[in-house]
Symmetry: C2
Amino acid sequence: MATLKEVALRAQVSTATVSKVLSNTPYVSEETRARVLRAVAELGYVPNLAARALSKGRTYIIGVVFPYNYDHLFADPLITTILEGIETVCTEQGYNVLIVTPRAPVIESAQYQRLAQSGYLDGLITIETLPDTPASTIPEQLGYPWVALGYRSALGNLNTIQSDDFAGAKEIAAYLIGLGHRHMGIITVEETDLAAAARRMSGYRSAFENAALNFDQVPCERGSFSVESGYQAADKLLARTPHPTAILCLNDRMAIGAIQRVWAAGLQVPQDISVVGFDDIPSAAYFAPALTTVRQHAEEMGERAAQMLFEIIGQRASDNRRGTTQTPSGFKPIVFPSELVIRSSAAPPPGRSLESLRR
Amino acid sequence: MATLKEVALRAQVSTATVSKVLSNTPYVSEETRARVLRAVAELGYVPNLAARALSKGRTYIIGVVFPYNYDHLFADPLITTILEGIETVCTEQGYNVLIVTPRAPVIESAQYQRLAQSGYLDGLITIETLPDTPASTIPEQLGYPWVALGYRSALGNLNTIQSDDFAGAKEIAAYLIGLGHRHMGIITVEETDLAAAARRMSGYRSAFENAALNFDQVPCERGSFSVESGYQAADKLLARTPHPTAILCLNDRMAIGAIQRVWAAGLQVPQDISVVGFDDIPSAAYFAPALTTVRQHAEEMGERAAQMLFEIIGQRASDNRRGTTQTPSGFKPIVFPSELVIRSSAAPPPGRSLESLRR
DNA sequence: TTGTACGCGTTATCAG
DNA sequence: CTGATAACGCGTACAA
């Protein structure tokens, strides 16, 4: 662990000169530059980041925050894919990624709060899966760079990257309706467990109302994201007579659970009952039947979030340079389209072929 | 962003005193302690981590390194599960996790090398999925705390956490043999792509030899981890006449691909052909047929790795305190058992019921 | 073109 | 029990 001073000693110059060489400042003679560089190489000198951070006020670390309560969030392919997108861009830009996972409600997580205020992070990207206690509140109050992925409830949507949950849900519900389904069931989650839940539900509702179907009479059960919970919820849905001919699930894992339950009843998907999901996790494509679902552009969303953050960091830096203290108004929300992926877990209801529909 | 100095000013004491109060040093009068604490609260003071790191030589950040080449490693549930285990323990211990993903061969990744030497990390956990260029080489040479998950090839296995790939592979192969299979195929990967590949292959071999079967004549195709590549590899295996009655896959995703290919041939799993995997990824349980595979204790392995790292960091610290500069010899490798998970993707070969085997 | 000297925010070592 | 003061390693005005 050689230091600047040691390099300076060896190259017979001052530490200031070494520093200048290393930061590519002009006005250094070729000769000394070469001598310094050689000393650096010989000593295997690497700048101490803690010292640099202290001096420059920049750590080149950005924090990715994902609160979790109910479930292992790392088990959610959507989250890890977003993370991958973020990580890619950060690495490109020479930034490092610190993962921050407040276990408790964000507001109560002292650890998170301290970290956010510790000056260790140049910025934060929060993955807001939960409503009510957005993790972005903290950096927002502290006035430093942040971007949120998801919904911030009543707080407005500046600096936010979202997936168009409403449109995606509406589209897939309309698709089922178009196939001829009239008796459907829904497997959702507690709205307190997923900020996007409400949007998806209103997407469904919108499709139903467009078709003059009464959404409020649609049987609706709650799961908790997992395959098992989907199984349980489907169990209740199937107990009804007549049972629904199609089930809309708020995520793919619950859809897979629901399908298991349909099988357990001795029924076929999609011949007897159609089941659709949401998210398009990797296994959705390989499940049999391959899941009809809604794709979210998770990796791109992660990348875009990181890019937005760097724009904010950059503009903040240039503001400082010219002494402007204008509070930036924030970026307009970016909404990524979500797209219906038609595979083979949905079909017209039994006794109602596509042909008959066309008549 | 209040500083120590501001707190000191407000509490009418010196910065040294504030520091003592905050680090719970005894020998501070109750009265001043209270005054300081109040000032801290009023100012919302949070220590600056960069400054603390510089002064104490400790950052409370540990790096988790996972090299990747061929594939999106974030898409590998095994890796993210390990990461989750690591993260849990680190958070408990008040450490933060920085993710480090050298894209190039580790040796050539300047970014990784610099980070490792920057003094920004208190320790490293490397996930060694690839042979030949273990990421742990760097911290090892630099002489600072590290733990490796996986295999370090010829470098020895000190400070290593492993899954018993050999035993797991042997067990699942023996299971198929026990079901009566005699003509099997294997879908593996390039040994340069996965350090564990060789162990699993020798596990298979061992089972075959125990049953007096010639392992070298077993048809063997290579995939590249993905579902698609499993499909392609199975394609070649099925082209043989007679085709194998069972396929051993080196991971679950390829097994799922292989099953798809079997279906495409109009055959059933496991009635016509048995297919087994390795890893027990979450979707293995929900796939239909549910995958018979080998479970690895990924989360526990991650947790154990973090614990081992903290033991090393701790002992290093106490060595320093008493001036001992003994080079620690390192921990013995910890091998986690892997276990056969019997579900429903394997059965006796056609025309050979379990009954007939017992005769 | 180069060097001096100070500041960044903490911790730690001493005197007092 | 408390308070100066010196590190920690780097960046950077400012001076030379």
